[in-house]
């Protein structure tokens, strides 16, 4: 017989889905942010003309729906290149690029927000380009970019729900499986939503905490 009541095992099943969501999000946001910093700094540094090819590629990742990217990447990497990658790996690769494309814009905006006169003052004291980047630009740009970056990280977390198309059973997919069995969509979606909230809340609060700590003036 089918069990139609919500059991502890179902919660464990959901928690496993939630863990997959967290895993995909953490990997993609970290990789995407590192790449985004590299791409964004490069775009700022070389100017719009030399950065045009990179900008074009990033625009592709920003403008095509994630669902399509996942399906196409899965087909391309698996069927065309015949790489034996797990769904999780493909999900992380695609979401990382998706995150990087947005992050590059945030990084560029953050760097541009640092007044050139401030950077000039740093260089006039004898700081090298790297020292200026590390000591002045990085901390100041981070303050400007943080709210957008938190938004991006939360967005990637929620968008990770789409990775079910490459056979990754994350939180929303787990919920759907339970809905099919238990026929309790509202209750299960509420539980699923609560899971999402519990995942995002610390990140949002952490962002708020940093913003508060950094506001000296």
């Amino acid at each position: 017989m089918f069990d139609t009541a919500l059991t502890a095992n179902d919660f464990i099943f959901l928690a496993k889905g939630a863990w997959m969501t967290i895993l995909v999000t953490i990997v993609s946001v970290i990789a995407g942010t590192v790449l985004g910093i590299v791409f964004g700094t490069f775009r700022y540094q070389v100017g719009p003309i030399w950065a045009a090819p990179l900008t074009f590629v990033l625009d592709i990742f920003r403008s095509i729906p994630l669902l399509i990217q996942l399906v196409l990447a899965n087909a391309f990497l698996g069927t065309v290149l015949r790489l034996n990658l797990s769904g999780l790996t493909i999900a992380c690769i695609v979401l990382s690029m998706y995150c990087a494309a947005y992050c590059a814009e945030i990084v560029r905006g953050g760097i541009e927000a640092v007044p050139t006169t401030t950077r000039r003052a740093a260089r006039s004291l004898g700081l090298t380009w790297w020292q200026d980047m590390r000591e002045i630009v990085l901390p100041l740009a981070t303050r400007v970019a943080l709210p957008s970056w938190i938004g991006l990280a939360l967005g990637v977390m929620k968008d990770s729900a789409l990775v079910y198309v490459v056979q990754v059973t994350e939180l929303l997919r787990s919920t759907q499986i339970l809905i099919t069995r238990l026929q309790e969509p509202l209750l299960l979606l509420m539980i699923c939503g609560a899971f999402y909230f519990v995942i995002s809340f610390p990140l949002a609060r952490f962002g708020g905490y940093l913003e508060k700590r950094w506001s000296h003036d």
Binding site: T118, R120, L125, G126, L127, E135, I136
Partner: protein, 241 residues
Amino acid sequence: MIEIENVRKSFGPLEVLKGIDLTVQNGEVLTVIGGSGSGKSTLLTCINGLEPIDSGRILIDGTEVHAKGTDLNKLRRKVGIVFQQWNAFPHLTVLENVTLAPRKVLGMARAQAEEIAVRQLNHVGLGDKLKTYPGRLSGGQQQRMAIARALAMSPRYMLFDEVTSALDPQLVGEVLDTLKMLAQEGMTMILVTHEMAFARDVSDRVAFFHQGVMAEIGPPAHIFGDPQHPETRKFLSSSRQ
């Protein structure tokens, strides 16, 4: 010694320095006056190597600033510059603003850098603001902090680019007093300023710039008392009004 030889510099089609020749001796205080667009601020940023030049050369203690092999970061340790906009590093305390370059550029230990910074900040009257963030300081205090920040590198030369122009009138005095003190201590300085009384007071020589040319240079008594160039006369009479 700072030697400027036939320096030319253009921004696009606009030539802002049209062959400047000037030598500043050690211990000398030179003020540069002139209307806006006369090229005086550009000259300072060229001396520091922040701007490239088109021709001519600038030598600091015999080292050519714009030569290919010159280590500008090293050269800049000798030449402090303070700008019109004080450009505080807003994420660092006053003390950290001043210790940053000695620690990162000179490789000083924190304790030693702080000792120097505290001395310089006391010198400019900010000894009680060490842990304050620049956002909480007045413009005059921020500008004095910028001066202490440059001095902490123990530069041999100091360049001041209209450092009082962006300040409220009641804050100008405290910054000028700081500059005067430095001049009396024998610091070699080039100051671009609009404060004529101050220029007359502290300078060994005054240079008048007009449309990218150094029209006249001489002791303050000559420039202010008996200017030879018609443009100098015109400029001085208009700035007295």
